[in-house]
């Protein structure tokens, strides 16, 4: 079975500072990993995904994530955040049954001026 842990429920950060949102997963099979973002009162939007190949994945809005198989992690990073990045971020894993996505509990990023 798969599971996803997002240890930080909230991350406050000042504008233009770097940020890292942590995601750890557990799985007994090969996995595919995703980061989604949810802006207030909206659905989820895909930020980036890891399927295979390079472990460093670049996504939209300047975000990137690194797949680390030995540490079973897929942390999301951005070198300089903007006020508009304030949102909730969800890590998800899918493996085996491709229709079964397992989502983490989410991390709320609060960017302050």
């Amino acid at each position: 079975a798969q599971s996803v842990t997002q240890l930080d429920s909230q991350v406050p950060v000042f504008e233009e500072a770097p940020v890292e949102l942590r995601c750890n997963y557990s799985s007994s099979v090969s996995v595919y990993l995703f980061w989604y973002v949810q802006y207030p009162n909206q659905g989820l939007q895909l930020l980036l995904k890891y399927l295979s190949g390079s472990t460093l994945v670049k996504g939209i809005n300047g975000f990137e994530a690194e797949f680390n198989k030995s540490q079973t992690s897929f942390h999301l990073r951005k070198p300089s955040v903007h006020i508009s990045d304030t949102a909730e971020y969800f890590c998800a894993v899918v493996g085996g049954n491709f229709n079964k996505f397992y989502f983490g509990s989410g991390t709320k990023l609060n960017v302050k001026p």
């Binding site: 595919y32 009162n41 659905g43 229709n99 989502f103 509990s105």
Partner: protein
């Protein structure tokens, strides 16, 4: 662009009422999903459908049923709404060509049961 629409953004219903949440996608996707989102719990899968008239239970199907009569439409039904079903409900759709095809989400329906 894939578009997933949900019939209502906000809904208020009384305990015991029958509630229908509708979801429509325009990308001819085979797979459609209903999730429930609660603070601190992330998204939990209620039901999904991989074809017309086909459905599978997710992690929390109790108190819910679904209907998929047409490929583009997937309905979530609360037979007798209860206050513990107050939540945000998200619909998603996905194509069938392996894991590369991520799920596309609708804007959500915030349901309040009083």
């Amino acid at each position: 662009d894939v578009k997933v629409t949900q019939s209502s953004r906000y809904l208020v219903k009384r305990t015991g009422e029958k509630v229908f949440l509708e979801c429509v996608q325009d990308m001819d996707h085979e797979n459609m999903f209903w999730y429930r989102q609660d603070p601190g719990l992330g998204l939990r899968l209620i039901y999904f459908s991989y074809d017309v008239k086909m459905k599978e239970k997710g992690d929390i199907p109790e108190g819910y049923s679904v209907s998929r009569e047409k490929k583009e439409r997937f309905s979530l039904i609360l037979e007798s709404a209860s206050t513990n079903q107050t939540s945000m409900y998200l619909c998603a759709s996905r194509g069938t060509k392996g894991p590369a095809y991520e799920q596309y989400f609708g804007p959500g329906t915030r349901l309040t049961v009083t």
